[in-house]
Symmetry: C2
Subunit: 426 residues, 2 copies
């Protein structure tokens, strides 16, 4: 998370935190029917008020029918970071520096059945830019993806497509009214394969010619340059399509390592422009990041026509990927640098005083709390990956010296207690 | 929070995060009746299952009577960080490096009526040590309080008392069975004054002699040394009392700037030894920190006799105090160092390339997204507190130069675009 945060700040994004608990009505209807079912709702307090008993019982009937009722629940847990961001921007737009570039690293909650790569409580890391249609901002988000995964040492593909191209596809085969089912079918291609996608399209009442046209689109292949030629040929004459392809060309000019994937669709319906998805190359764990451009998100909260673009990092999945690739740095758990041994009442007080001098200089230290066997204290130092042990026994105390042991090199030397600070400051 | 985190790590504490959502039964019964009412409970999903309708309706009757029922709610939001810590230690004790020193900085939720200094969702910062009875650990926590508030530039009093002394007080006036009401009455002294405390004690069926004795205790005054003499005189011959006073003396030896306050009681009943409370000197906003020693917290979760001691920082109140004292550093919001101006299509592409070179060296930059008026771009730089503007117009582009403006000094100079990196790296 620190790596992601560093890259966000390198690109000029400011941190934002929003409350975990939102009004239920802020969240419902934003994530589709399936999403609505996965929202964690909070039970109102004070339901045992006898004066309201009848009213509350009546309200509970609605819950039993799968509806909401503010007498029973009016708050819910954050489901993603995009909707709270949209609400925040809508509520505070006049106070913000626009374009507003914010990042947000907070947990979200979904009442899903937990399984590998899917959790009930998990962190999202989002970066969004509100208030500009500039494609430079879209390109920067792709570059941020590449930079983060380069720093984390994870080989990834950052894939790009454009909702305008999908719209053009629907238009070009005379089924503009079926954009949503077409997008949803294409979104499943990865999981179900082309034949099942064609079945889905058939169910959505597209005819053989239309399905054939969509299949042609989905099989456009080759390098980025070749794919662009392929799409331009297929969608020739369609203005929306040419615009979408042009946007991708502009972004690829600034972020050449992004890979075009015309089969990328992204389930969420609020995207209107470029869409992104990131996959790890060596591990198949689904997407570890995604995002895109939405041209009217705050409209839901009374402030229409604020364009935005954003990306999200699935940090828990990234964690799993790093675990699977075994690329977590070994020293991540080190925080204490020096352990002072506790070898008796007077000895420990001398050690404590010496330790406080190091702490005052910002060196992280501990004094072992009990006068335990040396062995036990060494074991503690090893388990906590502490670099140095400082040992003050009765003889050392008398001579105002101490033994410093370098735990990794297994070397030790005796110096004066007064000399400790300069030892560690060098 | 970063300041607090730094001090925690300086003292050898490791970070821990626990889920926001706990099992409801983990939380109920731990915070008293009042606390139980303030727990945010999560409504189970799937209550609209028709097959279970009758059962669920029956369960809801219990909710209407103020009880819990797992058919309606089995999860709840974290209410503090201590109980989740205790649960975590109990569940993972065999894997932990003991003494286990952890810190935790996460939000907690309470269904309270929001008011100044009291929030429904607020951060707690806790540091706890599990698995040692060493008073060195108690002393270190007091020193950490002092260090954090010194770093934050907030004048505070770190007050200390000992539950053993309160027990001794109850014993000494022959009302050991009334320790809880005595503690609760003393806890309110600050808010309601001595006369009302005496009324409360009367209600708890203490007699005039006993109340007189407690009043004597509450009015012990003077310096730390004088207070210790006063308490020793009053509780003479009481073993528990002498032990409690001795512990305070030991801690004061290591942390002399702590202030004894025998009227300090702390509401929570799990404390068994030293207790702490922190108040800001210049602002009256209640306590901004508190903690103490508990000698059997994990017992609630099946692992008896694990001693612990911990402190908590009320960061939202600390934030309020800093706001009121107006001591937030001005530069806190600076993240972007350089803003590249956008003065046209070709100019912005040159600026973008130059910017990426700076970013590659870790210098945070932005390119203004739109080719807007200079004035607007300067306004953006000022609002975001950006230190430098880099301006590449058509003439500069032709000459491969740029204008660097130091926004604070209002000075500018022209250098080659190639020279930018060494300019900012010096």
């Amino acid at each position: 998370m620190n790596t992601i945060k560093e890259v966000f700040e390198l690109y000029g994004f400011e941190p934002l935190e929003t409350p975990a608990v939102e009004n239920l009505e802020t969240l419902t209807g934003k994530y589709g029917d399936e999403g609505d079912k996965l929202i964690f709702k909070i039970l109102n307090n004070g339901l045992d008020n006898p004066a309201k008993r009848e009213e509350i019982e009546k309200s509970f009937e609605k819950i039993l029918e799968g509806k909401n009722d503010t007498n029973i629940t009016e708050r819910a847990l954050r489901y993603d970071l995009t909707i709270p961001f949209a609400r925040y921007v809508a509520m505070n737009f006049s106070k913000l520096t626009v374009p507003y570039k914010r990042y947000q690293i907070q947990p979200v909650w979904r009442a899903d059945r937990p399984q590998k790569g899917r959790y009930r409580e998990f962190y999202q890391c989002d970066a969004d830019i509100a208030g500009t249609t500039s494609l430079i901002s879209d390109a920067e988000l792709a570059l941020m993806y590449l930079k983060v995964f380069e720093k984390l040492n994870i080989g990834v593909e950052v894939k790009i497509n454009n909702r305008k191209i999908l719209s053009a596809l629907a238009e070009a085969c005379n089924s503009a009214d079926k954009l949503v089912p077409i997008t949803m079918a294409i979104d499943k291609l990865d999981k179900i394969g082309i034949e099942k996608v064609k079945e889905e399209l058939l169910k959505a009442e597209l005819n053989a010619g239309q399905i054939n046209f969509i299949e042609k689109y989905l099989t456009i292949g080759g390098s980025n340059a070749e794919k662009i030629i392929g799409a331009k040929n297929l969608l020739r004459g369609n203005e929306t399509g040419m615009k979408g392809i042009g946007e991708i060309e502009y972004i690829l000019n600034l972020a050449p390592n992004v890979i075009i994937d015309f089969t990328l669709a992204r389930g969420l319906n609020y995207y209107t422009g470029v869409i992104y998805e990131v996959k790890a190359k060596k591990v198949s764990l689904g997407s570890i990041g995604g995002g895109g451009r939405y041209d009217d998100l705050t409209g839901l909260f009374g402030l229409p026509n604020i364009p935005g673009v954003g990306i999200s990092f699935g940090v828990d999945r990234i964690y799993d990927v790093m675990n699977e690739l075994n690329i977590f740095p070994e020293t991540l758990n080190t925080s204490t640098k020096v352990l002072f041994f506790n070898l008796g009442e007077r000895e420990s007080l001398a050690a404590f005083a010496a330790m406080q001098e190091l702490r005052n200089e910002g060196i992280s230290c501990e004094l072992f709390y009990e006068n335990a066997k040396m062995e036990k204290q060494f074991r503690y130092a090893n388990k906590k990956n502490i670099a140095y042990a400082v040992i003050i026994g009765s003889r050392e105390l008398e001579q105002q010296t101490c033994i410093i042991k370098d735990m990794e090199k297994e070397q030790q030397q005796t110096i004066s207690i007064k000399g400790l600070l300069s030892y560690f400051n060098n």
